[in-house]
């Protein structure tokens, strides 16, 4: 143990000495380079002093020279001191007022720097002050240059040059060295003291990733919402909370959220109820149609809604639209169609977990079916109802793609913050606005976590109830099935419309058959498609592996800061995409991490945003596996990495595969965060679809949407096949 401490201390000592040596060298070299240039500049200015061979320069000439010098000094301040003041003599200068003020202040009592400066001037040398002064909130260094006439020093030029950039360079250098030292120290610590070095490194890497790519951008967002024109202020928040415009956006978001959540929950419940509690046929088909929209790319269903009901839509042209689709009604329609599957999936889980023997018992006690439904099924499903509602509510609030196309004059927060950033270039306002979105999201999350979870009656008995009692009378069933049929027909016609849109010359105007759109879309969308594919394919394995490693650490290992790391890694799940996008723009468009405009930032963004779902899946899978399986492998000599590769990963393959496909699909269909991060070089297919539909090129948008739909459905189908082949395995793990 003592040996290790010594080893560790020696390593650190060596690193400190080496780091200090390199740092001071770079610092000195840089500063002396800067100083040489500054001295050269100041001397040049001094040499341009109006030199009249016979007469003294007039004050006008001097003033004219000073004015020119300000321009030449690149934003510096200059002043002229006639004659060379002896020490303790009062200095009277001509020129920039704040500089003159400073010189006067420095001459009583007479500052050492001033004395040195004028001493150098007397010997015809140019001098740079050893310290900096604050003038108008910026750091300046003072330069003293001799003004020579006929070989004699007649006065001194005092110039103040801005050195804040110099200082910020040194600070950056210091930060980089500090970071490098911290990394080396942590690595050395792991190597010297950890019994499980690989796990230690994994923890370090995950901490690094989550601090840099989750905590830091969020912190930057928060900081910028309190920071304006170089000062700390509450102005931004005051504006956002007081101004009527922003308040109406908040109101709009909530209004939309309530409508969408309510409609989606009702629709989702009808689907779930019919699937779980009636004996009708085609349940598989109903369930499939009820899940399809959730994996549909954004814009695709919205796009076909516009094709049908938009300004030039099929139905609008036929005069069948009593109101405009743009605004709240259109948004509620588009969001409900896109989000009711979430409610459906949640509620069918809840209904499946309610043992139908309760209902049988009530029927047996001669309750009517209606009575059974209202007194048994509904109360038991109530917590599920609430959590489905809250889930849809938060998704609706964070939704960005639908409002982007359909909002019209209706204002919602996610769109508003986008406008602030891209339209007005007010990043602070945008950050603050999207942070406001966090409030309802977090509230919903907390309600879900601490209230609904406690009220839940759902008990897992482990006994599947084989037969289910049909709870509906034929009349009710007809109504329910009718509603479902209508929704499914509507969905199919939406998908059909997109496909039809590909083959029509100019939707809304000219419905003749044409393949022109396909050719044009392929030419113009090819680059974006390949970019999107490449970026998604890059993010997929990274996110997949990281998610499984994190899951393993969270479920099996103990280490300091585990809780904190878990929170950091899971946070992006609750963040609205716009907030993530804005935070990334804020954090990564400046040193030390300039990533905006690169492919890396998009890949990182995909990875960070889709990790939480993968981690959840991995953790659930790992909890099913007997820990002694992994211990046995360790015991036989496998280190952590080998255990992960040969035991853990094969065992949680289904979770791993679904994590992979989830990341891929979500990356392919991302909109809200990525819209802030794309660049001319790296474009995204969804944004291109949006641009085409904004420019009323619906044909092109349809083609690209169709391509995206095919890719997404294809990936899901493939994953389904791969996981199914694994079924045998997963069932035996528990035993």
């Amino acid at each position: 143990m003592k040996k290790r401490v010594l080893h560790f201390a020696l390593t650190l000592g060596l690193v400190v000495i080496l780091g200090f040596w390199i740092f001071t060298n770079i610092q000195n070299e840089f500063l002396s380079l800067a100083k040489t240039q500054q001295l050269r500049l100041v001397s040049a200015i001094a040499e341009a002093f109006p030199d009249r061979a016979d007469t003294e320069p007039t004050p006008e000439n001097v003033l004219e020279w000073l004015e020119k010098s300000v321009k030449n000094s690149g934003g510096g301040k200059v002043a002229y001191v006639n004659g060379v003041p002896a020490p303790l003599e009062r200095v009277s200068a001509l020129g920039d007022s704040s500089l003159v003020e400073l010189l006067t202040a420095l001459s009583s009592p007479f500052s050492l720097e001033l004395a040195k400066g004028f001493d150098n001037v007397a010997y015809e040398e140019t001098y740079r002050s050893a310290k900096d002064w604050e003038l108008d909130n910026t750091s300046y260094a003072l330069f003293f240059a001799p003004v020579v006439q006929k070989g004699e020093v007649v006065g001194a030029l005092v110039a103040a040059l801005d050195v804040s950039e110099e200082n910020s360079f040194i600070n950056l250098l210091l930060l980089l060295f500090g970071a490098a030292f911290a990394i080396i120290a942590l690595v050395a610590y792991q190597v010297s003291f950890s019994r499980d070095v690989i796990t230690g490194f994994a923890v370090l890497i995950l901490f690094g990733i989550s601090l840099v790519f989750v905590a830091y951008p969020l912190f930057e967002s928060l900081r910028l919402s309190f920071y304006q024109d170089g000062q700390w202020t509450l102005d931004i928040w005051k504006t956002i909370l007081m101004s009527r415009g922003y308040r109406s956006a908040l109101q709009g978001s909530i209004e939309l959220g309530v409508w969408t959540a309510s409609c989606s929950t009702i629709l989702g419940f009808i689907f779930a109820f019919v699937c779980a509690r009636t004996n009708i046929r085609f349940k598989g088909f109903i369930a499939a149609m009820g899940t399809l929209p959730v994996i549909s790319p954004p814009f695709s269903l919205t796009l076909s809604i516009i094709l049908l009901f938009g300004n030039n839509g099929l139905f609008t042209r036929m005069g069948l639209m009593p109101f405009s689709i743009y605004g709240l009604p259109g948004l509620v329609l588009a969001q409900t169609i896109g989000m009711f599957p979430v409610a459906f999936l949640t509620l069918s889980g809840v209904l499946a977990a309610i043992d139908s023997t309760f209902e049988d018992a009530a029927l047996n006690l001669s309750a009517t079916r209606m009575k059974v439904f209202t007194s048994i099924t509904l109360p038991l499903a109530l917590p599920g109802f609430l959590s489905a509602w809250l889930l849809v509510f938060t998704i609706s609030l964070a939704d960005f793609a639908n409002p982007l196309i359909l909002a019209g004059n209706f204002r919602v927060l996610s769109l508003e913050s986008y406008m602030e950033v891209t339209g007005m270039n007010r990043l602070g306002h945008g950050a603050a606005l999207s942070m406001v979105l966090l409030v309802p999201t977090l509230t919903a999350f907390l309600v879900q976590r601490f209230w609904i979870a406690r009220k839940s009656y759902v008990t897992v008995t482990g006994k599947p109830s084989g037969r289910i009692t049909d709870l509906t009378t034929p009349g009710v069933r007809t109504v329910l099935v009718g509603i479902i049929a209508l929704v499914i027909i509507f969905l199919i016609s939406l998908y059909g419309t997109i496909i039809a849109g590909c083959f029509v010359k100019n939707w809304g105007i000219d419905y003749t058959f044409s393949l022109d759109n396909i050719f044009e879309a392929v030419t113009r969308g090819k680059d974006a498609l390949f970019d999107t594919l490449a970026l998604s394919l890059a993010a997929t394995p990274i996110a997949g592996i990281l998610a499984m490693v994190s899951a393993l650490l969270f479920v099996r290992k103990t280490f300091y800061g585990k809780r904190l790391l878990e929170i950091l890694m899971m946070t992006p799940f609750a963040l609205p995409g716009t907030l993530v996008g804005i935070s990334y723009v804020l954090a990564f468009s400046k040193a030390p991490l300039i990533l905006v405009g690169t492919a890396a930032i998009i890949v990182i963004n995909y990875t960070i945003r889709e990790l939480p779902v993968g981690i959840e899946g991995g953790m659930a899978a790992l909890r099913q596996i007997d820990p002694s399986i992994e211990e046995a492998a360790t015991d036989l000599g496998a280190d952590s990495a080998t255990v992960f590769r040969t035991i853990v990963l094969p065992l949680i393959r289904p979770a791993f595969l679904s994590g992979l496909s989830y990341t891929f699909v979500r990356s392919m269909t991302a909109v809200s965060a990525v819209i802030f991060l794309i660049s001319a070089r790296w474009y995204h297919l969804t944004i291109l679809i949006y641009n085409f539909s904004e420019n009323l090129r619906f044909g092109l948008a349809s083609v690209l949407s169709t391509v995206l739909i095919i890719i997404v459905f294809g990936v899901f189908g493939l994953m389904h096949l791969l996981v199914r082949r694994n079924d045998n395995l997963t069932k035996t793990i528990g035993a």
Binding site: D196, E631, A632, T634, D639, A735
Partner: protein
């Protein structure tokens, strides 16, 4: 194979209680040494710290203080994958995605052994436990006993210096358990591996071990051979834990510890007994208890023994009869009397009054 000794020196393991957050000593200052090639059992009630000791030996837990030596090297800080131990888990921990031979070969592959050598060795070991026909089966299609043998072979094939077994038989039925006990002992001796075996089953411990370490409440109660522990337990906890026992209160009258005449004379209800074994801390006129095993107890006519009672049940086992005697003081549990060769002895019928006496040469005096 080179069997190595195992030595624990002042091992303490402190856990934090999950509810109160208070530190709890799961293992409290445990030291012992195991000779090379011995099979030693850690025996104790659940929660006594025996599994924690095993997990510290394997490296899965780190002792809070103290040192662990395998052979001559201090392995206290060596992680489990670098430690020359292998473990057989209570739930076997077989890799469900590998078949039997892949499971067994796993440890050898990690040691970068040539493929041919691995195949040959795996085949040889599987044959030793008659699993060679099942080499290609996944673990899920094996019976409990077969899974147990795969786990055993998988741990042994890497030729560890120390084999660790964590209640390996607790998931098997009684008959299989008896077979596997013999199997484990046979394999361990034939490969001459030092083995540490954790169990709470005293019969298992007795029948398997070269030595037994009885643990209670995080401490070692006694270390000894099975017969030491059975005949000469150090206190009433050990006496009660390793077998059926009856205690009779007595008073120490005289202690003679000559070289060939070691006798402790005690008085029970006015009668005197000379008993050859006693706890060393006992002094004359202490009150103590006489510990008797079922086979050292005798039944006689009421009033003739040290305590009267009635026979409450007789269990006929062929080579012996177990008679349960209900004591006068009903709050005390019934006493088991084992009558060997029942066909030539008198068996008292259920409900008959009897009196108890004991054979002094088989008893021991323990402090009360």
């Amino acid at each position: 194979m080179h069997a190595k000794s195992v030595r624990l020196v002042n091992i303490v393991k402190t856990f934090k209680d999950p509810q109160s957050g208070q530190p709890v000593n799961a293992v409290n200052d445990v030291s012992f040494e195991i000779a090379p090639g011995d099979l030693v059992t850690l025996l104790g009630p659940s929660g006594c710290g025996k599994t924690t000791v095993l997990r510290m030996l394997s490296g899965f837990e780190n002792p809070t203080s103290g040192h662990i030596y395998i052979g001559d090297s201090d392995v206290t800080d060596v992680p489990p994958n670098k430690r020359d131990t292998s473990m057989v888990f209570q739930s076997y921990g077989l890799f469900p995605h590998m078949n039997v031979s892949e499971n067994v070969a796993y440890g050898l592959k990690l040691r970068n052994m040539a493929k041919d050598a691995i195949d040959e060795k795996v085949a040889r070991f599987l044959e030793m436990v008659s699993l060679d026909k099942l080499a290609k089966r996944p673990p899920s299609r094996l019976s409990g006993g077969q899974q147990q043998r795969v786990a055993l072979v998988r741990a042994m094939i890497v030729e560890p210096s120390v084999l660790l077994l964590d209640e390996p038989l607790s998931n098997l039925d009684a008959l299989l358990r008896e077979q596997m006990r013999v199997e484990i002992r046979r394999l361990q001796k034939s490969l001459s591996i030092t083995a540490v075996y954790v169990t709470h089953d005293r019969v298992e411990a007795m029948s398997l071990s070269d030595k037994i370490i009885v643990m209670n409440a995080g401490k070692i109660a006694q270390i000894g051979t099975p017969s030491d522990i059975y005949r000469d337990p150090i206190n009433s906890f050990v006496a009660g834990f390793v077998g059926k026992v009856a205690f009779f209160p007595c008073e120490v009258k005289e202690i003679t510890s000559g070289s060939d005449n070691k006798i402790c004379r005690v008085e029970i209800k006015g009668r005197f007994f000379d008993i050859p074994r006693w706890s060393p801390e006992l002094k004359v006129s202490d009150s103590a208890v006489v510990m008797c095993r079922p086979e050292s107890l005798l039944l006689s006519e009421p009033g003739t023994g040290i305590e009267d009672g009635t026979v409450s049940a007789n269990v006929y086992l062929g080579n012996s009869v177990e008679s349960w005697v209900k004591r006068k003081d009903a709050s005390q549990s019934d006493i088991l009397v084992q009558i060997d060769n029942p066909d030539v002895k008198k068996i008292w019928k259920e409900g008959e009054p009897v009196s108890l006496t004991f054979e002094p040469s088989l008893a021991k005096v323990l402090s009360a």
